[in-house]
Amino acid sequence: MEQVDKTFNGTVTALKGMSLQVREGDFISLLGPSGCGKSTALRLISDLLHPTSGRITWAGEHDSGDLGVVFQEPTLMPWATVAQNVWLPFRLRGQSYTAVRDDVLQALKLVGLEKFQNSYPRELSGGMKMRVSIARAMVTRPRLILMDEPFAALDEITRFKLNNDLLRLKAAIGCTVIFVTHSVFESVFLSDRIVVMAARPGRVITELAVDAPYPRDADFRTSPEYAAFTRRATDALHDAMGEAA
């Protein structure tokens, strides 16, 4: 999956000449203001949209189990239990629950919700629903997980906690993550590469490397280097906004 490379123009030019090389194991944040084509980029990668021009390629074979997606909303099926929701990717590939129960329970355990497998989504808090959504994205052990502002609707405390957990989970299953956000702090804390984008037309402005070692924990948030990276990312974003205006 080393060469996701794409350039394209939409009718309203949602995204212009975007190129991105994703390496196995990367944690990439797409950072930018609203309307910069971050979500469009994700929809292109997930094959929900097709590029007007340019190409998106994966290195090697891939199937539906190689991709996991987390939306801004938890997007759970309200009529199904937590375990049934996490089972969904397998179910759509024709695998019975008994055949994959271990994987489902393992994924729930990773997000700390194994006790809630028989609960219905409405019985869970916003943060817990999001965890279920993440468990569903990870359950097939995908090579790539796309996250579209997954924590934007959560409160700050829950958000911090889920950020920490996300890094732990990524390390546990060893996947690549492309993460859309408009929070500078979130992108610096999570990613090793930040792609800064600008709006109208949506395009890539610059790319920053956050070369602080993983695992990162709460200490990293208060470290001087975190502050420095945040500074650089903020400046880059500021430039991007300035150019757009």
Binding site: R43, S46, D47, L48, D63, S64, L67, V69, F71, E73, T75, M77, P78, W79, A80, L88, P89, R91, L92, R93, Y120, P121, R122
Partner: protein, 285 residues
């Protein structure tokens, strides 16, 4: 905030809370008590009006006489009730199968929907009393004619509600299904049908009442007596004979049947949705 000391006095109920609890109690009893009270008053009033004005029973019978007739004619009325209920339930079943089937067809193919939806609307808005006589000209079997009439009235709410429900599945979930490469059948089975369930059940409750109305109207039009006559025919027949108490008794049976159908379908709806749907949730405040 402090940790509760066992010697602390029990938590005080403030004025708001006491008022809220009182409201809850009033509502709990009032829900049953008030309609019952209205019923008793109305019956007493009805009875007194008949007695004081010395209204003859072939114009307006008192409630006592109606009740007496209900018991006296029970065997005949109950038999008629069974016929009507049978038509109603069969029509409802056909309405469900036809309504859901058409809705699924409509959502699977936009072309089919565009072609046939206007005709479904036309069937719905044309009064059944106007169509029924024609139906009985062309359909030989009386039972099939009754069924057809009741179905025509009942299937539309099922169709339109289910179509709405099938189309209102969460868009992100749809995307998710596409990303995971779900087939049409899987999307229908695992996403659209469950999303449509609350809408369908809403339509079903309306259809339940309508199929009873359809059955009764059709019986009026079909008219013919014979051994297998429904309640509507009994009402007509009693009317010809100026047997007003029996008309009332039959009317009461029809009304009670309608209420039972509605209550049954509401209960079914509650049981199917109580675990997950907003409509079935109780809120404390």
């Amino acid at each position: 905030m402090s940790i509760a000391d066992p010697t602390d006095p029990p938590l005080q109920l403030d004025a708001d809370e006491t008022a809220r609890l009182r409201r809850k109690r009033v509502e709990k009893f009032g829900k049953w008590l008030l309609p019952a009270l209205v019923l008793v008053i109305m019956l007493a009033l009805w009875d007194r009006i008949v007695v004081w004005n010395e209204i003859p029973h072939y114009i307006l019978p008192g409630p006592g006489l109606v009740f007496e007739t209900l018991i006296k004619d029970w065997a005949m009325l109950f038999e008629a009730l069974l016929v009507t209920v049978q038509i109603t339930l069969m029509a409802l079943a056909v309405a469900v199968v036809g309504g859901v089937g058409l809705a699924v067809l409509f959502t699977q193919s936009r072309l089919v929907e565009m072609s046939f939806y206007p005709y479904a609307v036309i069937l719905q808005v044309t009064p059944i009393v106007a169509i029924a006589p024609l139906i009985f000209i062309y359909v030989d079997s009386r039972i099939a004619g009754l069924l057809l009439c009741a179905w025509l009235v009942a299937f539309f709410p099922v169709l339109s509600n289910t179509t709405l429900g099938l189309n209102s599945a969460d868009h992100n979930l749809r995307d998710l299904f596409r990303i995971y490469g779900a087939s049409r059948w899987q999307t229908l089975r695992f996403l659209q049908l469950p999303s449509a369930l609350p809408y369908f059940l809403g339509g079903l409750r309306i259809a339940g009442g309508l199929s009873l109305i359809g059955a009764v109207v059709a019986e009026y039009v079909a008219g013919t007596g014979g051994l297998k006559s429904g309640l509507a025919f009994r009402i007509l027949e009693a009317g010809y004979r100026l047997n007003i108490p029996r008309m009332f008794a039959a009317l009461i049976l029809i009304a009670v049947t309608g209420v039972i159908i509605f209550a049954g379908l509401s209960f079914l709806s509650h049981m199917l949705l109580r675990k997950w749907h907003e409509s079935a949730l109780k809120r404390d405040h």
